[in-house]
């Protein structure tokens, strides 16, 4: 315990194993020396998902214009094979942006949404053997070109069917957009650069209700989701932030106030980010929010929020003070010093299994032209790893965490998951115009762990919104199952808990979206525990 609180980093070494894992393809995303349009700056996401239910996480990587978004099958033993065409996913190209996954039709196989500037695509997973493009049939075809970005499935009305939220960045057409240097919004530190988002028109976010028959209905207006009309929306995070049993939606917004849609439980949401303290930084200033993640970093049983922002801004850590009201805890937590990075994908994850959620974010500037300035702000930059010290504070251990962390890329999406089921979380990163990174720790810390895989029966099959409260070694941790998150990406749908020295879990309590409650006791650690929702309500503890 003394060692844990001392701030001294444990032996930690992340290596980029993408090449040896078979992730050798480059994913294009606009210019590398200069970018003429904003569409070249925002892509793209990545996903960890187990599409064939073999117990091993597969990989999906979204491409910008000029490439294919690709699915890689996890063959075990640390190798992945490109199965894009074999799985029927080779038909779409364009400016791919985000990805999110869940079993929207409750058939037991995880489906996929890929968002685009242009038309989104819903891929229905056909028994893990192939994917079927069902966008139009499902009612998700859009009537105009939209700049869709982050997405997440969620069951906002707890009817047992996964609904879909899609963030929209702005209105954009390369034929109509101003060129670099054309107006005051097209300059950065004296350089003519691509224009926006300021100066480009806002668009509105979208909520699709799952009708339970394979189709969706656009309920954006009726639900209140489309009401905010002055925000540039990017990363999407779902969670029950006010602990009322209903899933809320947080959206990281670029140069405008971020959004917190509070679920009212009657099919409607109200946007309450400002009063709840998660719209701005502590000075009341809108940040350039990109990615977003949630966890209970301080062990008080409430979901806190971390958001990555632009250079010359701090990242933002919002501490949940209860009831879904937040304080800006960035300075108090000791994470306010890294202001030269443009942050994107981010995630709370317990890399050393000590029972406290750490934070990793990946970086890279939007303007390649920034390299001409000769300053300490870069188009390609390293990642940042904050170790949670267990006392409400973090230590920046980025430069002592192995070669994978200090590689320089213009990174965007990042997904977190345990692809080899060894109890350590790996990080998959989409690097613009490069091969992806796959960060892995070759050496295992002594601490113990457990992975919890939930399957809904009355609730939606992916168990989106299910809450887990786990007690081991005298500590209680909480988390929720969620789709989407980070920056335009999809994490492992299973929940990972570091257990420190505890070899057994004393108690796992699950609150299912259906209202059912379930308790398991004395569970052996060091494995994936699969829990199915009881088909009939069980008596409470």
């Amino acid at each position: 315990m003394l060692l844990m609180l001392s701030g001294a980093p444990p032996h930690v070494r992340f290596e980029n194993v993408a090449e040896s894992a078979g992730l050798t393809r480059l994913f294009p995303n606009g210019g590398d020396k200069t970018k003429r349009f904003i569409i070249e700056t925002t892509g793209s996401g990545v996903a960890f998902l187990d599409y064939d239910n073999d117990g091993l996480l597969d990989i999906f990587i979204v491409s910008g214009e000029g490439g294919l978004s690709r699915m890689y099958h996890n063959d075990g033993k640390g190798r992945f094979t490109d199965v894009t065409r074999k799985m029927g996913l080779g038909g779409a190209s364009g400016w791919g942006q985000g990805v999110c996954a869940a079993d929207y039709d409750n058939d037991g196989f995880t489906d996929l949404v890929v968002t685009y500037w242009g038309q989104n695509h819903l891929y229905r997973n056909v028994r893990g053997q192939s994917f079927e493009e069902v966008t139009e049939r499902a009612g998700l075809k859009q009537d105009r070109v939209r700049y869709n970005t982050g997405c997440a499935f969620l069951d906002y009305d707890n009817d047992g069917h996964a609904d879909l939220f899609v963030a929209n960045y702005l209105k954009f057409d390369p034929a109509a957009a101003p060129k670099p240097g054309e107006n005051p919004y097209c300059w950065y530190r004296g350089l003519a650069v691509n224009c926006g988002p300021r100066g480009l028109p806002f668009d509105r976010n979208i909520l699709y209700h799952n009708n339970g028959d394979g189709t969706f209905s656009d309920v954006s207006q009726a639900s209140g989701i489309s009401a905010p009309d002055q925000n540039y929306s990017l990363g999407v995070l779902t969670g029950d932030f006010n602990n009322d049993g209903l899933t809320d939606i947080y959206v990281a917004c670029d140069q405008t106030p971020s959004l917190l849609y509070i679920n009212q439980g009657n099919g409607k949401f109200t946007e309450e980010a400002l009063l709840r303290g998660v719209a701005f930084d502590e000075n009341g200033k809108a940040m350039s929010g990109m990615g977003v993640t949630a966890a209970d970093y301080d062990g008080d049983g409430r979901l806190d929020i971390f958001r990555s922002n632009f250079s010359d801004e701090r990242e933002t850590l919002y501490r949940n003070r209860g009831g879904g009201e937040f304080d800006d805890a960035t300075i108090a937590a000791g994470i306010s010093r890294n202001t030269r990075f443009v942050g994107w994908g981010c995630g709370f994850f317990d890399f050393d299994n000590d029972g406290w959620k750490d934070v990793l974010l990946v970086n890279g500037h939007v303007f390649p032209e920034v390299e001409r300035l000769g300053i300490d702000i870069h188009y390609k930059d390293r990642a940042i790893l904050y170790r949670n010290l267990g006392n409400g504070k973090f230590a920046d251990i980025s430069e002592n965490a192995g070669p994978g962390l200090i590689e320089r890329h213009s990174a965007r999406g990042a997904a977190f998951g345990d692809y080899d089921n060894d109890g350590l979380i790996e990080v998959l990163i989409n690097n613009q115009n490069e091969t992806p990174s796959l960060l892995k720790q070759p050496a295992r810390p002594a601490n113990h762990w457990i992975l919890v895989k939930l399957t809904g029966t009355q609730s939606n099959r992916s168990a989106l919104g299910a809450k887990v409260k786990l007690t081991a070694g005298g500590r209680t941790q909480v988390d929720e199952v969620r789709s989407g998150g980070s920056y335009l990406s999809q994490n492992d749908l299973r929940l990972h808990f570091g257990l420190g020295a505890a070899q057994r879990v004393d108690r796992i309590e699950i609150q299912w979206p259906s209202g059912a409650s379930q308790i398991l006791r004395d569970v052996l650690a060091g494995r994936v525990v699969e829990i199915e929702e009881p088909r009939k309500p069980l008596a409470r503890d």
């Binding site: 209105k171 100066g199 028109p201 806002f202 400002l274 502590e282 200033k285 304080d327 300075i331 010093r337």
Partner: protein
Amino acid sequence: MGQILLAEQDRTGAAARFEKAVSLNPIFAEALVALARVKSDEKKYSEAITLLERAVKLQPASESAHYSLMLAYRNAGRTEDAQREKAVIDKLKRPPEGEFTDFLKKLGEKAPKQ
């Protein structure tokens, strides 16, 4: 100096600097806001509110002062006052009218109502 100490997690030292600044210049709104934030962190919401109400009178267009006051009201349970401050912030943050008119014309759309 107070801001540096705050970044160094020295809240007591920072508060002393902000108090000194306010005593030397009672109409230094930024110092009032900074001191109020320290008070809020210490859960001394009524003291924070007193300081922030002074700050917004001195700088009625300060988004930072109104934002801090809104949160201090919220934390003190003064919901109606917090809502009133929120309305002020909403007004201060409103983008200029017609900001996108030219671009929307190029896209073939009408400018949205502001």
